[in-house]
């Protein structure tokens, strides 16, 4: 089956939903990882399967899945990321015929015990994949897979550094296109294409439409639609970093290689720049401050998806922590559909004006 927009290697595809999924294992088992996004239109069918008070990501994913929109996936790997995700797993398992369904248990927060546990979880997952494919994942194959993703991350960083410049040499929506493509593609093929792009694009010219726009960091609940970024850019910002599971932050993970590859992966994933489920709000604030400096940002928009407890609970405290650091922050909440964004336009524009007045 050919799916639009995918750089496919004709491997069977494994869907995944959470940034804590060890893609290396999926790839080493012979699958092409495919990130499930749902959609950003009004939800149609999900309410017949789940309570309406679930986030757009979960509801729209169900929408697509129950209409066979994901039937090109051979399997799906879920993570026990949040309450909503657990229920997504349950609904999927009941209503969407899929050959391989798995749920990984990832601890909240970092601890030495958690580290040991995540390794056993990854090992269990590896065995489940091996049992399913009747193929043992050899060490070399896993190491190769790790290397492929290391290269992807490093290539992404090279692209992302183009945003250090002011005005940035690449705009946010372009980066989001690249990121989204990564989520759907065979990483090896994606790597090759990015390398090509990096060599041919001299990128020393800047587009006139992005000059003088304030530089913005986008943080918060996962955003799956490139149009979301374009919308904010059209309001008058340059998005220079996405502190999102679905944006630049996704690539912020460090692999320290050693002999025990499962520990390597466990350590890397548990230690990655935390999302709100990891209950480390101070680290989240610190990270936002750091990237804000690193990318020389003028402001931050923190967007929470309606009904996303994980991020919404953090908002009041995060606001305090960021304001303490003298950062300009706008906290938004929407149902994640593009329609709902329009209602936020005035607030985004007002925020833009405040920042612009400070820049003068």
């Amino acid at each position: 089956m050919v799916v639009k927009g995918i750089k496919s290697s004709k491997k069977p595809m494994m869907g995944w939903v959470c940034t804590y999924t060890p893609l290396e294992l999926i790839y080493a088992a012979g699958f092409q990882p495919y990130r499930i996004f749902g959609h950003s239109n009004p939800v149609k069918n999900a309410d017949s399967y789940i309570h309406p008070n679930y986030c757009q990501f979960v509801k729209s994913t169900i929408d697509v899945a129950v209409e066979d929109g994901y039937n090109f996936l051979e399997g799906v790997t879920f993570v026990n990321s949040c309450d909503a995700m657990r229920r997504l797993h349950d609904v999927w398992k009941e209503y969407v015929p899929t050959k391989f369904i798995y749920i990984l248990d990832i601890p909240m927060g970092y601890s030495s015990l958690g580290l040991k546990y995540i390794r056993t979880e990854f090992e269990k997952f590896k065995i489940a994949l091996e049992n399913y494919t009747s193929n043992v994942i050899q060490e070399e194959v896993l190491e190769d897979a790790i290397d492929v993703f290391i290269e992807s991350r490093s290539l992404f960083h090279s692209v992302n550094t183009l945003r250090f410049k002011n005005p940035p040499l690449i705009i946010g929506s372009e980066i989001m296109e690249i990121t989204s493509e990564f989520f759907k593609s065979d990483p090896k093929i994606w790597n090759e294409q990015i390398k090509e792009k990096l060599t041919i694009s001299g990128r020393n010219t800047t587009r006139s439409d992005i000059i003088n726009k304030p530089r913005l960091i986008l943080s918060g609940s996962p955003i799956h639609d490139v149009n979301f970024i374009s919308f904010i850019e059209d309001c008058g910002f340059n998005v220079v970093y996405e502190d999102l599971c679905t944006g630049s932050k996704f690539f912020d993970i460090k692999i320290n290689k050693s002999n025990d590859l499962l520990s390597v992966l466990g350590e890397a994933y548990l230690n990655r720049v935390p999302c709100a489920r990891m209950m480390k709000i101070k680290d989240r604030a610190k990270n936002i401050l750091n990237i804000s400096k690193k990318y020389d940002a003028n402001g931050i928009i923190h967007h929470s998806l309606k009904f996303c407890d994980t991020y919404l609970y953090d908002v009041p405290r995060l606001k305090e922590l960021l304001i303490e650091k003298d950062l300009n922050v706008l906290f938004l909440e929407s149902d994640g559909s593009l329609g709902s964004l329009n209602q936020l336009k005035t607030r985004i524009e007002a925020f833009l004006e405040i920042i612009k007045s400070q820049m003068r």
Partner: protein, 408 residues
């Protein structure tokens, strides 16, 4: 300066009122609430350290260290029951806490901001049943500038995952020792497991007695019995359980049934509605419908191993029906429906409960398979500001009429 006189008064008055009532006549319900009030009073007792927790943590360990564990959802329920929660919702919401979140948690966040609760010595949150609980506890920790100890409850039972939880319990003990100076008395812990096993046996009997048609219990005899977890592993817990067993046995022997004209037997899913409504009376008086089993009152665990307390407590926690994927819970629900011979099930479908709402259709279908219809009430069990009595009543009536029709 924080002022928690209100809370202190509440528990002391409750204790006092029940003491008088018990002097007039001892009933298991009175004894139960009396003991819960005494646990509330412990918050102000210097011989105990204060532990704020989420609902499912190992109270046996806390009790054995003289740490008075109190789960935050309890306060949501209590304040709502006392008609006092509005102020705290408004306060939390004014600080940006979403009205879409679980109101059990929103109340306690507001209450903590308002200085209603005394400073905790320790804060212990578990990853089940829901993420909101840990987030709320984190907020309380921030208010008091304290760390929160988080227990990650593994979703699958394997020998390694049990080890992981046992190790976490060990770390939790260290954390409590560090923050309270209180040591774990293993002898006391073992004794507490012994009490737990005794109480468990009585509770299994209590539940079995309620399988009787008609049931010896009435809908509110075991309402909010989830609070019983605070008494697990205590002598008082054994007494309460025994009182219930004796009373229900007596009722059966003497044919005093909860609802003598019991026409319908109902299963209640998750929590009850906490603020005052007369829905239960309506069910009983108008329809002869009796809630004979609350999902959360099910005793899911086997006898604990006294020689290995931490491991058996870990195993008990990990096998809780609300842990992990919903399959386990569905199995329990259908099992309860069959064993208690219920005619229908009520799910309040508490607004803001992300743990449960996503499985509502699965509940309905699983119960349908065993011939039990289910109604989702779609209420917020704690926040009565949006409660529309007429609307809920109409839905409930329609449901009861449907049951009546299918009975003929």
């Amino acid at each position: 300066m924080v002022d928690y006189t209100l809370l202190k008064q509440y528990f002391f008055q409750l204790e006092d009122a029940l003491k008088h009532k018990i002097a007039l006549k001892l009933t298991p319900r009175r004894k139960f609430i009396y003991e819960i009030a005494r646990i509330g009073i412990r918050i102000f007792d210097k011989n105990w350290s204060n532990g704020w927790t989420t609902v499912f943590v190992p109270y046996e360990i806390l009790n054995s260290m003289n740490v008075s564990g109190m789960f935050v959802e309890f306060f949501g329920a209590m304040l709502s029951g006392a008609g006092l929660s509005r102020k705290y919702f408004e306060l939390a919401e004014s600080k940006g806490y979403s009205t879409d979140s679980c109101s059990y948690h929103r109340t306690i966040i507001g209450a903590a901001m308002d200085g209603l609760i005394p400073e905790p010595d320790v804060l212990i949150g578990a990853s089940i049943p829901c993420n909101g609980g840990v987030k709320a506890l984190k907020r309380i920790g921030e208010i008091f500038n304290k760390d929160v100890f988080i227990l990650n409850i593994p979703i699958e039972v394997t020998s390694k995952s049990i080890d992981y939880l046992v190790d976490q319990y060990q770390q939790m003990i260290d954390y409590i020792e560090e923050n309270t100076g209180r040591k774990l008395d293993y002898h006391k812990l073992k004794q507490s497991i012994k009490f737990n096993n005794q109480a468990r046996e009585y509770l299994v009997e209590v539940n079995n007695l309620c399988k009787n048609v008609p049931s010896p219990s009435i809908s509110n005899d075991l309402k909010n019995f989830i609070m019983y977890i605070l008494l697990l592993g205590t002598k008082e817990g054994v007494e309460v359980a025994k009182n219930y067993r004796d009373e229900f046995q007596y009722r059966i022997d003497n044919k005093f049934f909860g609802l003598p004209e019991e026409k319908y037997r109902l299963l209640w899913i998750q929590n009850r509605i906490q603020f005052k409504t007369d829905l239960i009376n309506t069910l009983e008086d108008r329809f002869g419908a009796n809630v004979v089993i609350d999902e959360l009152n099910h005793i899911w665990w086997d006898e604990l191993d006294e020689s290995d307390p931490l491991r058996s407590l870990a195993y008990r926690m990990m096998t809780h029906p609300l842990v992990g994927p919903v399959e386990r819970r569905l199995k329990v629900l259908t099992q309860l429906a069959k064993e208690y011979r219920v005619n229908g099930a009520i799910n309040p479908a508490h607004w803001g409960c992300r743990q449960s709402g996503g499985a509502r259709v699965l509940f309905k279908e699983a119960l349908q398979k065993v011939g039990v219809p289910l109604i989702h009430l779609d209420v917020d069990c704690v926040d009565e500001r949006n409660y529309s009595h007429g609307q809920i009543l109409t839905r409930l009536e329609a449901f009861m009429e449907m049951l009546t029709a299918s009975n003929f």
